[in-house]
Symmetry: C2
DNA sequence: CATAATAGGGAACGATCATTTCCGAATCAA
DNA sequence: TTGATTCGGAAATGATCGTTCCCTATTATG
C-alpha cells in the first residue's frame, strides 16, 4: 500500500563494494523510501519496529543489521528524504529563468506536496522538528541545519531576483527568505489536515506578493 | 463532531460541584498547563505516563481517575491550550482598531510565541497534527477544526480590513486567510529550531505585505 | 454515627517496545 | 575446499509502556 515516493533519480546512495559475506537481498534505497513514508505519517515515536518491518518487508534482525537501530534507520531515511527533495527541487528550478520565477517554482513545489495523499503523509523534516527537537540533540541539529540551508537558498534566490530586476530591491533578502520558509513549512502543516489542490495551489501565486 | 473549543474563557473550566466523596486535592487547570508543556515539547507518543505523572505531581492512579486515560488527558490539555490561546489572542485583538491592525496583532502574537523557550516548546496543535493526523481520527478532526476556525477568523479580519479600507479590496479573503494561516503555523515549526526575537519579530511586519 | 462515593497512592498487570541472540544460508579470498 | 564474513529470519530478552487493582483517606448525605 505504501508507494515509493519518487523513482530513484539519485545515484545509488550506497556504492556497496561486494566484500566477503552474503550479499544483501533487498534494495536499501527502496527500503528507505518505505521508512520515509512510515516515519512521515506516524512520527518517530509513533512508528514501531513492527510497523517498519512490515512496511519494509524485513525482519527485525535484518533491519538492525543494516541500520544499527531505530534511530539509525530514521537518520538514514531523513538524509535520503532531504536528498530526494533537494534533487526534485533542483530539477524544478532549472526551468525557471529569473529569481522571481524560481521562488514561484519553489512555492508551487511545496503547494503540490501539501494536499491529497502526499499532504497527509507530511514532511519528515517537520515530523523530526516536532518529535525530536527537544529529545535528540543530534537529530535536532540536523533539522535545524536543513532549515537554515533552505533559508539560505531562498535568500540567494531573493538576491538573484533583485539583481535581475524581478524582485523589489528594497527588501531584506534574509527576512524575506525566512518568511518564505515559514510559508513553506506552514503549507506542510496545514496540508496534514486533508486539503485539496484547489485550496493549496492558489497560495503559491499569492505568496509572490511578498516579493513586490 | 464540533467541540466547544473556547467554551470556558478564563473562568475555572471545571465548575466542580462538591458532591459526595473526597474532594480533589490538585488544581485541574494547573495540571493541564503542565500537561500542555509536556505534550508540546515531546509530542503525544513521546510523552510517557511517567513523564506526565512527574510533571503533574500526580500518581498514575490519580491521573487516570481524573482524566480516564492518556488520550483523555491529551484531549483535555488540547482543549485548554486552544481556549487559553484564543483568550490571549482575543485580548490582543481588542487594542487594534482596523482589520489590518488586527492581522498585524495576530502576526505579532505568533511571532512572539515562536522564539526562545516558548518557541522551542512548540505548538500543541502542530504537535497533534504531526503525531495524530493519520493515527487518531477524533484528534485529527479536532486539529482540523481548530485550523479551519482560525482560517475563518482570519478571513473575517481580511474582510473587515477591506471594509474599513486598510486592506486591498481585490484580494480573495479566503485565499489570503489560508496563506496567513500557513505563515502562522510555519512560524511555530521554524520556532522549534531555536530562533531568537531578532529573527522572528520582523516577519510579522513583512507578512503584512500580503494585504497590499 | 453510618453509608455512599470519590480521591490519593503504590504495587502489580499484561502488552508491547526496541534490541539481541542464535543458526542456517550465501558469498569472497585463500 | 576451507575459513572468514555477512545476511535472513525467528525466537527470546529485558525494559518500559499504558492501565488496573486494592487499600486507605476524606468528604457529603441521611
Amino acid at each position: 500500500m505504501i508507494v515509493p515516493y519518487y523513482a530513484a533519480m539519485t545515484a545509488p546512495s550506497s556504492p556497496r563494494r561486494p566484500g566477503p559475506g552474503r550479499p544483501r537481498e533487498f534494495d536499501t534505497d527502496l527500503a528507505l523510501d518505505r521508512a520515509i513514508a512510515v516515519f512521515s505519517e506516524r512520527g518517530y515515536q509513533g512508528a514501531a519496529i513492527s510497523d517498519l518491518t512490515r512496511a519494509l518487508g524485513l525482519t527485525a534482525g535484518s533491519l538492525y543489521k543494516a541500520f544499527t537501530d531505530k534511530r539509525g534507520l530514521f537518520l538514514a531515511a531523513f538524509d535520503r528524504y532531504v536528498a530526494l527533495r533537494t534533487d526534485r527541487l533542483r530539477a524544478v528550478l532549472e526551468g525557471a529563468p529569473t529569481g522571481r520565477a524560481k521562488i514561484k517554482a519553489v512555492l508551487d513545489f511545496y503547494a503540490g506536496s501539501s494536499y491529497g495523499a502526499d499532504g497527509r503523509r507530511g514532511c519528515l523534516v517537520v515530523a523530526g522538528a516536532v518529535d525530536l527537537a527537544t529529545a535528540d540533540p543530534e537529530i535536532a541539529a540536523r533539522v535545524t541545519g536543513v532549515l537554515h540551508l533552505n533559508e539560505g537558498r531562498l535568500a540567494d534566490l531573493v538576491a538573484e531576483g533583485q539583481a535581475d530586476g524581478t524582485i523589489a530591491p528594497h527588501l531584506d533578502p534574509m527576512v524575506t527568505a525566512r518568511l518564505l520558509l515559514c510559508v513553506l513549512q506552514g503549507m506542510r502543516v496545514v496540508g496534514k489536515t486533508g486539503r485539496d489542490r484547489a485550496e493549496m495551489a492558489p497560495l503559491a501565486d499569492n505568496a509572490l506578493r511578498l516579493l513586490d
